[in-house]
């Protein structure tokens, strides 16, 4: 098992490098970040030339990639402005933008291998700090949504499987297909329209429309919990539909298996048969589903976070994409890629742990 894990980790390294090369290349093709992002148009061309060079954008492309990985504190650039006359005598026209020709200013970045993901062009702050701001918010939403999805998805799926083709099963089936066929933004906006706008109109207690905390409040836990409801609902609705269908199908298959008939013949209680024997076997594939969902949630729910103004990774990603902030986008992509690899590996390990039939060599 240990050998298997080590082998998988080693296999993942070239995969991650390949992913980063692809993303790096795509971002470079998308144009000049200084031109595309919301840079003040009144910042002079000379200042922009300095910033571009300081950010390493004047370096050859392969070197930029190496700097991103290994940093540039071992590399020197010509960054000193040739502006002495300008400072000494205010009547002399400044020659800012002309560098002094000496390649003597070392870079300051350490590279991602040393934990430095660079400076966000938009926020002018280290990328790690920006992500540290957002990741906890995404984890709050993601963990709530995932827990809700698993609990309700499994419960509904089991109930439907135990009473196949009953009224409950038919209702669940219909709702599942309806929910599954709706885009998430529609679910989110409908939920807000009904549970916030209409509930208020009808004089009922209504849910907040957006944000993590009440703007007039004191950022308390109850504010957070109440504001989690609609985003969680929007995120979980489709997944609950998927999980419940999945569990229903695998439970039906398990219930009609020979070993369940044997269990019944041995006189086990129905509850024990369903929860211990049938559900245990029916839930194995759930591990794969959850392992695939966690990295997706970690990457943030782009649509949900945008609609609900939830300051998480998804909103950060969409803002960074809109404003072309490569350091953030590269770090974000790497984070998601690493988590996909990690959780897939974890799923394989958990499989081996819960299912004695699975053995890795």
């Amino acid at each position: 098992m240990t050998k298997y894990i080590i082998r998988r980790i080693i296999q993942a390294i070239p995969l991650l490098v390949l992913i980063t090369i692809l993303i790096f290349g795509l971002l470079k093709l998308s144009g000049d970040p200084f031109a595309a992002q919301m840079i003040d148009p009144n910042v002079s061309e000379e200042d922009m030339a300095y910033r571009r060079r300081a950010a390493g954008l004047d370096d050859p492309l392969p070197l930029q990639f190496i700097h991103w990985y290994l940093g540039d504190d071992w590399y020197q650039r010509d960054l000193r402005p040739n502006n002495d006359p300008c400072l000494a005598d205010s009547t002399v026209v400044c020659a800012w933008g002309e560098f002094d020709g000496e390649v003597d200013t070392p870079g300051t970045r350490k590279g991602i291998l040393r934990g430095d993901f660079g400076i966000s062009l938009r926020f002018q702050r280290p990328v790690v700090e920006v992500i540290q701001d957002r990741l906890p918010n995404t984890l709050i939403l993601a963990s709530t949504a995932l827990t809700t999805t698993i609990l309700l998805g499994v419960a509904i799926g089991m109930l439907a499987a135990l009473r196949p083709y009953s009224l409950f099963d038919n209702i669940v089936t219909t709702l599942s297909f309806v929910t599954f066929s709706m885009p998430i933004f529609l679910i989110a906006l409908l939920a807000v329209f009904v549970f916030s706008v209409k509930f208020k109109e009808w004089g009922l207690p209504y849910l907040p429309t957006q944000g993590m905390y009440d703007p007039r409040g004191d950022r308390s836990l109850d504010e957070l919990l109440i504001r989690l409801i609609l985003p969680t609902f929007s995120l979980a609705a489709i997944q609950i539909a998927a999980y419940s269908r999945f569990i229903r199908a695998s439970m039906l298959e398990a219930i009609n298996s020979d070993y369940i008939r044997t269990a019944r013949a041995k006189g086990l209680t129905n509850r024990r048969i369903v929860l211990v024997h049938a559900f245990k076997n029916a839930s194995f594939p759930l591990i794969t589903l959850v392992a695939l969902d966690i990295p997706a949630y970690l990457g943030g729910a782009v649509v949900t976070e945008t609609i609900f103004s939830w300051p998480g990774m998804g909103k950060l990603f969409i803002d960074s994409l809109t404003n072309l902030d490569p350091p953030i986008l590269l770090a974000f992509t790497l984070l998601v890629a690493v988590s996909v690899v990690f959780f897939q590996l974890l799923a394989d390990i958990v499989y081996a742990w819960v299912d004695p039939r699975v053995r890795y060599t």
Binding site: Q37, M38, D40, N42, V43, S44, E46, D47, Y50, R51, P81, N83, C86, L87, S90, T91, V93, W96, F123, Q124, R125, E129, V130, Q132, D133, R134, N137, L151, A155, L159, V192, F193, S196, V197, K200, P205, Y206, L207, P208, T209, Q210, G211, M212, Y213, D214, P215, R216, G217, D222, E223, L225, I226, R227, I229, I307, F308, S309, P311, K315, D319
Partner: protein
Amino acid sequence: MKKVTRLTLVSALIISALTLMGVFSTAAQEESVLVIGFEQEPPNLWPLNTLTYGGLAESFYSRDLWDWDVNREIYPIMVTEIPSVENGRIAINDEGNTVVTITLREGMLWSDGMPITAADCEIWHTIRFDRSTSTNVSRNAYPDVVLDFSIDENDPLTFSITYSGTFPDVLVAPEKPECRYPAHVFGPMIEDGGILEDSPYFVGGMDFDGLKTVSYGPYSLAEWNIGENMVMVKNPNWDGPEPAWDRIVIPFITDSAQMRNALTVGEIDVAFGWSDNLQPDYAAIENVETIAIPGVYSDALWIRMGEIGNSDEHGGTALMDPRVRQAIAHAIDRRSLAEELVAPGVMVPTSWYPPSLWPEDLPFLEYDPELAAQLLDEAGWVLNEDGIREKDGVTLDNLRFVTTENELRNNYQLFIQEYLAEVGIGVDIQIIPATTLFATFSDGGTLTNYQWDLAIFANSANALAPTSYDDYKCKGIPSPENPDGFNPWQFCNERYDELDALIATTLPGPERDALVEEAVRLHWEGFFWHGLRLRATWFAVDTTVVNPESVANYTGSLASNWFNQIEYWEAAS
């Protein structure tokens, strides 16, 4: 299975309880709070950040030496009086350079209690003048046009700035004097060779301490929760009118539907900057009033008036005749179109220049189809048997009428097509991507390559200075020799060019006013620019929280000073 059912019931109960908790907790607040939704979060708060939302956020906690009100009238804030030629504070020295002398009001304090003096203005001068202090400051031409800064030896509140040559728009130019940032915060850092980028002043995030944002304004920036909101609190050292609310919270709500929802349920009190077509939706919200503040952009009908681009297929030389261009304006009921297509009360401008510069007798070309027909007849373009204007075998039935993909402009095109048809002019409507329509001559732009006759788009005038652009000068006409020129309408008037040069080198006063008036008239008499609507900045305010009249009266009408008189906004009575 009963347990599962019970679990479901308990979950439902918990959710209901939390819902009630949320509703009741919202109700129990004592501190007065105004919540203003921002559609975008400022990326940062760099000095003189001219990005709209950076400037908007800054306008809560930072005030200039002077500013402009909703009518674009200048008023003093930090100065004893507005510098002018009359009061001797704007003068030309012996070397022919412009000297501006400013005296700060006594007793002003920064938000941390330190006094404001001319030394604060000097540090900001140093930052703008010396490029090595930051690469992220909007300097414009400051280092190139400013020659000297000096503080009065006898008065620590008085300072002078010397500008190169005659610099008449010293009060309105981006290079105008400023005292935005405190010397006691930035001085030591700059003296130690540090740069502004090192300062925590301008960035938000986990370690952001709003109190470091020492400023002079009715509020102080207390919190900036990146991605979520900004919180302004009353500045105890502000000596102006006391603001009506203890706190202002600015949540960032990027989804426009959610902005309306938030206003509907009372989570925010003010939404602004939304597009014209949303006015009915906002107006329909209970207890919400919509307010239009005139902006700086005007959508207009442009006419290609020059010879280049003429062809018999598209009306020959018809548009070169000013009577035809004037007739087109009279043929269209622009006021009704603005009322019906945009919103009631939308202003239809008379001139491209800002209203404050219009001569009192500058007429608006009112809807008058009979006069339009008469002008066309006088120009020799008479109706043929098909009801189309015709002259020397050339018909006016195929003028190329272009605009961008924009629902409102496309609707305008359709209505204008009908109005023009009534006087015998036919147009061929074309919708062209903005990147092609506005591209330069060498990039094959539709306008710059003269593949048009009529067009709808917006072009802003300088909101405060009376100077014009090359877009209206002879040297701006695009050609292979001048591929970057953007005067595709071909307005070319040597006197106008001369006037603009004179305006740029004449100090404010009666002489300059006369020059400006003449320039505005010449521009208007070209009849190549017919205003369709002055774009407004829309506000939607919850009338149970804010007095809407105070918003209408105390809101800036420039690009990013919409909250520059927030201290005058009143709570609903």
